[in-house]
Symmetry: C2
Subunit: 459 residues, 2 copies
């Protein structure tokens, strides 16, 4: 018999990984809820008509498609079959696909439920998505996305709240050294106008976005190859290379944008967000104005965010921005909003690299009851009941096997305490309580043990 395998690019999450993932997700959920965001879940499968045409041609090819049930070939075109035209028959044999992100299903939900939704609608959504990408290190075919969006308002308070939420999540996760980079679509447009490339922005921004990865020289080469003029590059890099605080950058660009109304609007939005943050009283907001941040520009129309953890191998763990047309593709215009997403896998990897997971995440049971025989096992049942009634996660080894085997089980499962029950313990009611980390063993009554576990430092 062939050993079973996992499909390429997919993963199991065993107990230890799950505990760490749940630790991250619980913190994120609690913060989202504290800020008034409500949960949404959509089905894994969507109609292909909902999914296709939303992610570009490349995206369409990365959709996992579900084969229709039953006699799926029945109504296909015989000629297409004969010529083995895979592309030509795809939509005849497949009506549904797996969701590719959480944004399109969210947009579909908003359109379908627009009359019941209370706007402004603050929703969060934490679910896996699937992409038929070539798997490689850190890139999977199934991975979780974790989105929060506010739709139905233009208020810049939402941008400020996103900064606050990201800050609270990072603080609770113990991540201190990170940057929350912000830019604004209108600032990028203003820069393009200043450079005299107003009608040809897209490839201009694509090149800028690569600055981090390929460096100034290569970006310049690429722009020249795309027929941008030397003088436009001089203007561009004067701005990109301006170094200073966020405040100094704002002043610098304000002076540049005197006659550029779009750019002015971008700057004033950014200033407003910073003012709201300071009025809220968020001293450490980690915000850095990054003129070169140019992500998601086919989609974002206002502020743009990206969160990078410093000094780890994969730093970018969150991103987002404001859009003015979430649901236009589904026939409902003018639904604007702002949202962002945490990359759970990347947060996980960064937390591992920084050694930030508390040891406690790995503890499932607090106590294992260890016994010598059937009689002491039965005696242990009453102890187990008392422990659990006091909210203490605990178990008894199910079989009467050698003590060492039971202790091994406790060690492998990282159970911090064991109670060994033998004939003496049954007679006296005084139990042998062992700290598995220190190896220290002492005799206590059950009540004393309960207190010790609930308040380990005697507080």
């Amino acid at each position: 018999m062939k050993k079973p395998t996992l499909p390429k690019g997919t993963r199991d999450f065993g107990p230890s990984q799950m505990a760490k993932r749940q630790y991250i997700l619980e913190i994120i959920k609690k913060v989202f809820q504290k800020y008034g965001f409500q949960p949404l879940e959509t089905p894994a499968m969507e109609n292909l008509s909902t999914l296709t045409g939303k992610y570009g041609e490349e995206g369409d090819q990365l959709l996992f498609k579900i084969l229709n049930s039953g006699d799926f070939l029945k109504n296909t075109n015989a000629q297409m079959l004969e010529s083995k035209n895979s592309k030509g028959i795809t939509f005849d044999i497949s009506e549904k696909g797996l969701r590719y992100d959480l944004t399109v299903p969210f947009a579909r939900y908003v359109v379908m439920n627009r009359n019941e939704i209370t706007f402004p609608f603050k929703r969060y959504q934490i679910q896996p998505v699937w992409r038929a990408d070539r798997p490689q290190k850190g890139r999977y075919r199934e991975f979780y996305q974790c989105d929060a969006d506010v739709v139905g308002t233009d208020s810049l308070l939402c941008e400020a709240e996103i900064v606050l939420m990201i800050g609270e999540v990072m603080r609770r996760l113990g991540i201190v050294d990170y940057s929350l980079k912000v830019n604004h679509r209108a600032i990028l447009t203003g820069m393009a106008e200043l450079c005299g490339v107003k009608g040809n922005e897209a490839s201009f921004f694509v090149a800028i976005d690569k600055l981090d990865k390929i460096g100034e020289e290569k970006v310049k080469e690429e722009l020249l190859a795309r027929n941008f003029s030397e003088s436009s590059l001089v203007t561009l890099f004067e701005m990109l290379n301006f170094s200073g605080t966020t405040q100094q950058k704002i002043e610098f660009l304000t002076s540049k944008f005197l006659t550029i109304s779009g750019g002015k609007k971008g700057i004033s939005d950014l200033k407003e967000v910073l003012t709201l943050l300071s009025e809220y009283g968020a001293p450490e907001n980690h915000v850095e104005f990054d003129i070169g941040l140019a992500r998601g520009l086919s989609y974002y129309t206002g502020c743009i965010f990206e969160v990078k953890i410093n000094n780890v191998s994969i730093g970018s763990v969150s991103g987002g921005g404001r859009y003015d047309n979430l649901t236009g593709v589904f026939g409902l215009p003018d639904v604007s909003g702002v949202g962002f997403s945490f990359g759970v896998d990347r947060l996980y990897d960064a937390m591992e690299e920084l050694n930030l997971f508390p040891l406690e995440t790995q503890i499932s049971s607090q106590v294992l009851l260890v016994h010598f025989d059937e009689e002491s096992k039965r005696y242990g049942l009453k102890i187990l009941k008392t422990l659990r009634e006091n909210g203490i996660a605990s178990e008894i080894y199910p079989d009467s096997v050698k003590i060492q085997k039971q202790l091994d089980y406790a060690n492998k499962k990282m159970v911090p305490y064991t109670i060994v029950i033998g004939s003496e313990e049954m007679k006296s009611g005084i139990l042998a309580f062992k700290n598995m980390n220190t190896g220290e063993q002492q005799k206590y009554t059950l009540n004393q043990i309960v207190s010790l576990i609930i308040q380990p430092n005697g507080r």
Copy 2:
């Protein structure tokens, strides 16, 4: 533009449903963890070689299959295509499918990770599964399963622990009127032997399993039609119709099984589980010995469970049993265990019918800050910060719109308190605190409000 729709048999879970679902799942997870169970998640997609042949021929047809990426027709058989033989080319154009349950992926996980797993392995798994079933009321193509299993031990303590876990989940959910029906595969086999139908058990049990649904007469008709003798039916219904307590049923069957060794073993297992429960001190264990319970018999080899909530339309919310061969299909023999599953959708429906969801599940934010203008909104930001620092989920309406619109938002979102900020409040620091349920409004300092929300009854 066509309005978007959901695929047949799938659902969105909006904020209100999500809150209720999370309420149920959180309780289940907490109980599982308290009993030492650890979480596992497996990918939505499995290789079809892992899935097919595990659920019978009907099950294979209900698998959702994923169309291979790229030029999927390239290596298909031209003749099969020409004759439009859907079945014949299915496995040529599809290598992966969506998981159909959580048991097969669990078995695959155990086989692939047998050297790292700590046995006995207590795992729980809460994930959606997909079946291309004909959708109907209460039957969906995507639904959550919620499984807990212990593998790698024969100890009947695990059966007792399952009874305890079910009991604790039901108690915490507020469900009091339910029965936990148990039977044992060997008792059924013993009954078959007594009835003289030893070699022909399968269709015998299938008929018994329908007793609840179609009644005694129809079951008798069906058995006669299948050539079971009149006398075997007399013996069978003498046992099925025996009424009495669990204790009385055990005594009755003990006297019947004097020479039937299989039946004896079943009775002694059952007695042992009941003894363990009583030694643990579980007085209200809701256990009812049901001689007619005959579910999952192609799979279960020991105790069988089913939980039914009384006086609701769909009563069966949980089931499970012991099996002696979880992983044999993947080439790893002798992995035995016992497990059970909660039907989340059914629990949800029963809870709705019994009106058991606490109102608090519907509350997302505790407080909405309501303001008259930009100035009072900005003043509100500091208040918001204090509320959140005290762990109070709260929000401020993002736009400066009419007060009534802001209060409507609070009402629709079931926010229980509002704080209205006007010029007077900004001057004095004394805030108008409104209970949205009673309509009562009083003036308090922010500190007083924080105390009132944290300790609503003044405790």
